[in-house]
Amino acid sequence: MASVITVGSDDVPPAPLTLTSRLVDGIAVITISGLLDVTTRDQFADYLDQAGPALFLDLAGVTFMDSRSLGLIVHHWQRAVTGGEKFALIGADYARVKVMWITGLAQRIPSYDTLDQALAALA
């Protein structure tokens, strides 16, 4: 399934976020592309609420992440841990998701360069 929201008109630049997911070994692998900020917050929150409980979030296509989006990710990570479910981040690049690194959360949440590495470690 996929959902695309493009906000904007000729004089307002678009702030798109594309979310797609697929099941791999019973884990919802969500590919996130675009902006995670106030303009896409509800879309991201609703999508995560409907996914899981086992979640891998592929962040390789994220171009910007704010602290509220980070908070949502932390919430779902905590929920997975509490429920004994698998949770991992994929492709959390320092420059594009800096909030995750400077807060130390990228080092606390299981994080892998590729989906194959995450599956090998957790699935």
Partner: protein, 143 residues
């Protein structure tokens, strides 16, 4: 002698445009690389706070002067206090509250004052005191 340049923008939900304006203005003011991105991120957090808690509206004011770029974020609620800034910390179990910590972590200076309209947060980034071009002819604007 370079005079201070000032640009004012209304704060609204078009965050992408505000980030672009801050990026272009701070770049023209001599901020580069990761520190430029840090300022954009910090301003994004402050503006998001205005949208969520600060009355939903306000003014973004950018100042470029020799040695520093300053961004002022003024809200219309005045609820932000020094205590909020001092209490900001990273709680890995919390969904919220990271923004003020991130702002203070990334910026060289964070100053808060009350105005007749609300709370005024001033973010400062020091820039190299080397001569630089005063920015592109088509400087960013908020229109």
């Amino acid at each position: 002698m370079m005079t201070e340049r000032v640009l004012r923008c209304p704060i609204n939900a078009d965050l992408g445009r505000l980030r672009d304006v801050v990026h272009a203005y701070a770049d023209a003011g001599g901020l580069r690389g990761e520190r430029l991105e840090d300022l954009v991120l910090a301003v994004n957090e402050a503006v998001t706070n205005v949208l969520d808690h600060g009355g939903g509206a306000g003014t973004l004011t950018l100042h470029a002067r020799p040695g520093a770029v300053l961004v002022q974020i003024e809200d219309t609620s005045g609820q932000l206090t020094r205590e909020h800034l001092d209490a900001a910390e990273i709680d890995p179990t919390a969904m919220r509250g990271h923004g003020l910590w991130i702002i203070q972590r990334l910026c060289d200076g964070v100053h808060l004052q009350r105005t007749s309209r609300g709370a005024l947060l001033t973010l400062t980034m020091n820039t190299p005191r080397t001569p630089h071009t005063p920015g592109p002819t088509g400087s960013p604007d908020c229109s």
